[in-house]
């Protein structure tokens, strides 16, 4: 019933979250080359991460807190999320690739309402897997930040990096959909830098997913 309400909210287009404002360090100058930005982007490095996360999924005005364990295989462009409730019971097991997703198991309420799994899958795909910066993207430097821009057939895609070269935002503004991902609070883990806080916001579908890394391990 609760999930049904969520779907109704989604269908009715209830008031949803609005795009967040990116906060960047100011007393520095961004000056990396396009290839450096791409090579230094953690999403484009072939690591496998095991991430324990706290997550807050918002659909319209409805908030769904979750605990998740995510195996993120950037080598094979695949993410697998197990979402748990406060008793440790698995709510769903979702595998996401660049092209699709497989719901391996789920409690009946999730399995019956596929929009929830689909929304989470799309969020994970955009946060972790695609789109990625490419060598043909247009580099623009503005003081303390740099952007890689790409024209789409119906709009624009942009990746924003801070003066450390960390990817801080991916933003699409197009007729096919408006969404953004903000990556905050980078920390060093096993020689790579990962954001501790990730905020995904899909304006078109009124979906917001906030993730906080609680434990980070690299799979060797």
């Amino acid at each position: 019933m609760r999930i049904l309400s969520i779907c109704l909210l989604l269908a009715l287009g209830a008031c949803g979250p609005t795009l967040s404002t990116l906060q960047l360090p100011e007393n520095c100058r961004a000056a990396q080359s396009r290839s450096q930005l791409i090579a230094g982007n953690w999403r484009q490095q072939p690591h496998i991460w095991r991430l324990r996360q706290a997550a807050l999924l918002e659909i319209g005005s409805k908030k769904i807190p979750l605990e998740g364990f995510l195996r993120l295989d950037l080598r094979h462009k695949e993410a697998r999320l197990l979402a748990l409730n406060e008793m440790g019971l698995v709510l769903f097991d979702l595998q996401v690739t660049e092209q699709g997703e497989v719901l391996h198991r789920a409690i009946p309420q999730i399995r019956e309402h596929k929009a929830v799994a689909r929304g989470v899958a799309q969020s994970l795909r955009r946060i972790f897997l695609q789109p990625l910066p490419e060598a043909n993207d247009l580099l623009q430097t503005q003081g303390n930040s740099q952007g890689l821009r790409r024209s789409l057939s119906d709009g624009q895609l942009e990746f924003i990096f801070d003066c450390s070269g960390d990817l801080r935002e991916t933003r699409q503004q197009a007729k096919s959909g408006e969404w953004q991902v903000i990556y905050n609070d980078y920390r060093d883990y096993a020689g790579a830098r990962l954001p501790e806080e990730i905020l995904f916001n899909d304006e078109t579908h009124r979906v917001k997913l906030s993730l906080w890394q609680k434990e980070v391990k690299q799979e060797l």
């Binding site: 706290a54 440790g88 019971l89 698995v90 409690i107």
Partner: protein, 215 residues
């Protein structure tokens, strides 16, 4: 319902007659369960810490969480996870409230309209007060060990059996309370709950069974 309970009790007795009990086969499970229930009947309140160890089979990963648990006769519960996310629920009879520090929200639920929370809450209550009638209506029971007592519970309900393979309940040496619960899920995952710093029959403030305020 009474017929169902009787039928389940009969099945349990038949099972006990038919199935070997290994090391504990000389024990009369029915008598033991009644003893456990009598002991639990002397428990008016209980509070403890707990460690929750979640084993994820497909990843060979163990997720450890910690929290607090409280129970007061006849039907009040508090289950509070402190790490990694402050979250939990309180139950008062068939109704309860959940909270989560991420959403900073409290929400009402009832055992009737939230099946998952219903199963969780009823199980916690059943373990806390050793509610044999309920347990026997829901599970086939086996005695795995006598000292300390360890029981295996297999769901009879097809819906519950769809995601819970079995539960193992370990009682404290003096049988005054449940010390561990092992929940094995279909698919190979499991959750082990270890209750520590258990205090019986202490006065619990009213606020124990209320959800926290978020300002």
């Amino acid at each position: 319902m009474r017929k169902l309970c009787c039928l389940n009790l009969l099945l349990v007795v038949l099972f006990l007659v038919a199935a070997p009990l290994g090391a504990a086969e000389t024990t009369d499970l029915h008598t033991l369960l009644r003893q456990l229930q009598d002991t639990a009947g002397q428990t008016h309140s209980l509070k403890s810490d707990f460690i929750q160890e979640k084993e994820l089979a497909i990843f060979s990963e163990k997720l450890v969480s910690a929290g607090r648990f409280a129970y007061q006769q006849p039907d009040r519960l508090r289950w509070e996870l402190l790490t990694p996310i402050d979250s939990g629920f309180v139950l008062r009879g068939d109704k309860g409230e959940r909270w989560n520090s991420l959403s900073r929200e409290r929400s009402d639920f009832s055992v009737a309209n939230d099946p998952i929370m219903g199963i969780i809450a009823r199980q916690l209550l059943a373990w806390a007060r050793v509610d044999l009638d309920w347990l026997q209506s829901r599970y086939r029971m086996e005695l795995l060990a006598e000292s300390p007592v360890r029981l295996r519970l297999t769901p009879l309900d097809k819906g519950e059996a769809g995601f819970i393979e079995e539960l193992q309940i370990l009682f404290a040496g003096d049988r005054s309370h449940v010390a561990e619960v092992l929940l094995k899920e279909q698919g190979g995952d499991s959750t082990l709950l270890r209750f520590t710093n258990v205090q019986l029959n202490t006065a619990l403030p009213v606020a124990t069974f209320e959800a926290p305020e978020f300002k």
